[in-house]
């Protein structure tokens, strides 16, 4: 029998419709779902960055709230993407049986899981954008400084996307091992929370003891934070000449880029391969 090319929808429609489904369902409860990942970085910035930071004055050559703020875009993206691909995926898989319905349509398990990872990336994009706007406004209102001093910050949501894809893929891989939803607590408390503190968000990785410094280089968040901080602070170099050169755009960032690319490809491959076995009997 002849198999013409048009016997089913093209790849981008298949992946796109998975993405669209998640977007529609998620946006039904946007306020209740979206408020915590939006507010948490703000609370942290105000509580730690301003409360403690103003006492500290300039550290690392810049006001502390600027240093911290530049890291919080990626943690917002990390947490939303990770929630989506752990609890979100697990509930769709085991409780709501949503995937059973979707897999009856012309969508393969690969398409579905890639759509899942891209959706996590999109949430990373959206929340890093929201937090960018909110933090910029907060810093402006509080007369700390203006992050908008460089056009380069328009790239932040794109890093939010890449960071979301990274944690989406990794979280899917974690989910592929999890049989009991409560076990995600180990992942959040044991892995993501330490990463929040030891990836250069709150203080520079260089302040860590040598052993932990090596460990920080293994953490995926370290690399995206470095990128984003460089893009945030690049425009402020003239104003803060004592700013550490490590926060600027420099060739070493290519190593971070290489790490991110390899991590995304490897984790996506492993996650899709492993989780597919739970989707297809």
């Amino acid at each position: 029998m002849q198999h013409s090319r048009n016997t089913y929808p093209p790849l981008w429609i298949r992946i796109g419709s998975v993405w669209f489904r998640h977007m529609r369902v998620y946006s039904r409860n946007l306020i209740s779902n979206g408020l915590p990942p939006f507010l948490e970085p703000l609370i942290f910035l105000v509580g730690i960055g301003l409360g403690l930071g103003l006492d500290l004055g300039d550290i690392y050559g810049i006001p502390y709230p600027l240093f911290l703020g530049a890291g919080l875009f990626m943690t917002a993206s990390m947490f939303t993407a990770s929630f989506e691909c752990t609890f979100g995926t697990f509930i769709r898989l085991e409780f709501d049986k949503v995937y059973d319905g979707m897999l009856a349509a012309p969508v393969s398990a690969n398409n579905l899981l890639i759509g899942e990872i891209l959706w996590a990336g999109s949430k990373g994009f959206f929340f890093s954008l929201c937090v960018l706007i909110a933090i910029s406004v907060a810093l402006l209102v509080l007369h700390v400084d203006n992050l908008f001093s460089s056009f380069l910050i328009v790239f932040i949501p794109f890093f939010g996307f890449i960071n979301g894809v990274m944690f989406g893929a990794f979280s899917l891989l974690v989910t592929s091992f999890v049989k009991n939803i409560n076990h995600f607590n180990f992942y959040f408390t044991g892995f993501l929370s330490p990463m929040f503190f030891f990836s250069g968000v709150v203080f520079p990785v260089g302040n860590l003891p040598p052993v932990l410094r090596q460990l920080a280089e293994v953490f995926p968040l370290t690399h995206t934070v470095r990128f984003v901080r460089a893009f945030c602070l690049a425009g402020l170099h003239g104003k803060y000449p004592r700013m550490d050169a490590a926060y600027l755009i420099r060739p070493e960032l290519l190593w971070d880029a290489a790490y991110i690319i390899v991590f995304v490809l490897l984790m996506s491959y492993l996650a899709v391969t492993r989780l597919k076995k739970r989707l297809i009997d």
Binding site: M1, H3, T7, Y8, P9, P10, I13, R14, G16, S17, F20, R21, R24, V25, R28, N29, D96, K97, V98, D100, G101, M102, L103, A104, A105, P106, V107, S108, I280, D281
Partner: protein, 310 residues
């Protein structure tokens, strides 16, 4: 293989870890026909269905042939799923969305234009008699409405094959009749129907061919009416308390086939006189006489005791 054959399965096997779910199963379904799998829970019905649309992967064996519209599910699952509608056993609607939104989201998977999707959704909601529920949230729907909505969803892309996994389990008689009517009317428009059920009546009402499957193995296959004629006596008397049979004359009982089921005793016979002969010796109200049905056949074939998997 004739041109009209929609499903052709030869020597299918499926093993889960240590469980042999399907063993050497072969069958074929012609276009516009209704084919029913009948079997106890855990018999392998759902697994067989899932293999056809690549939700389950068959055991790799050289002798296995599996084709749906000429496509092999293992390599061409998307082409198959594009022309199949699937109604799974569990309800899996998006509870956050309303009726129409559930269908809209699904129309995307088939790359339907918004205009066409709207037309299709309106006509399917009418067809499944859900027209006035368009905007209802899923949690406000009854079990029967959810089931009808899932069937509507399966029909979105005008499938040429409809796969129904226990479509009416747990539904009240009115809804069941309605769903049966809809399936019949789809069949008239040449849609092929594959269904699993353990309601004998459902199989009897709808199916052109039934395949009785037990522990993954085909036990019997044929037209339900023919199978009844061939494999089971035409009448039965059910005695509600089996201790009452003690005083009955042995020569009379020998003319019938005896089956014990819990507290009941059943005597099957081709001759209604034999059945009446037994009834005459029993007090009124302690028995009833009826024609045999698929359930009797099914229980005769698969046994009255429960398996471990049920």
């Amino acid at each position: 293989m004739s041109l009209k054959t929609v499903i052709n399965v030869q020597h299918a096997y499926k093993t889960y870890d240590s469980l042999q779910a399907v063993t050497d199963l072969s069958f074929a379904v012609d276009q516009g026909r209704c084919f029913a799998f009948l079997g106890p829970n855990g018999a392998g019905k759902t697994t067989m269905m899932k293999m056809l649309y690549a939700k389950a992967r068959r055991d790799p064996r050289p002798e296995t042939v599996m084709q749906v519209f000429g496509y092999d599910p293992q390599y061409q699952e998307l082409a198959i799923k594009n022309v199949c509608g699937v109604v799974p056993q569990d309800d899996n609607l998006d509870v956050e969305l309303d009726v129409r939104q559930n269908l809209r989201i699904f129309s995307r998977f088939y790359d339907m234009s918004a205009v066409r999707a709207q037309e299709r959704i309106a006509s399917l909601l009418d067809f499944m008699e859900l027209g006035d529920k368009k905007r209802s949230p899923i949690r406000e729907l009854s079990g029967g409405m959810k089931r009808r909505l899932i069937i509507a969803r399966a029909l979105l892309n005008e499938p040429r094959l409809l796969i129904l996994d226990e479509p009416t389990t747990g539904l009240d008689p009115q809804v069941r009749q309605l769903i049966w009517d809809k399936i019949r009317s789809l069949q008239k428009s040449n849609v092929t129907v594959l269904l699993t059920t353990h309601y004998m009546e459902e199989a009897y009402q709808l199916a052109d061919t039934i395949l009785i499957i037990d522990k993954g193995i085909k036990v019997l296959e044929g037209n339900p009416h023919t199978l009844l004629d061939e494999y089971i006596e035409s009448h039965v008397i059910e005695i509600l308390d089996k201790t009452r049979t003690a005083g009955l004359p042995a020569p009379l009982l020998r003319k019938a086939r005896k089956e014990e089921s819990g507290e009941r005793m059943l005597f099957y016979s081709e001759q209604i006189d034999v059945i009446h002969g037994i009834a005459d010796k029993l007090p009124r109200g302690s028995f009833f006489i009826r024609q045999t049905n698929l359930e009797d056949l099914f229980l005769k074939i698969t046994g009255r005791k429960l398996h471990a998997t049920q």
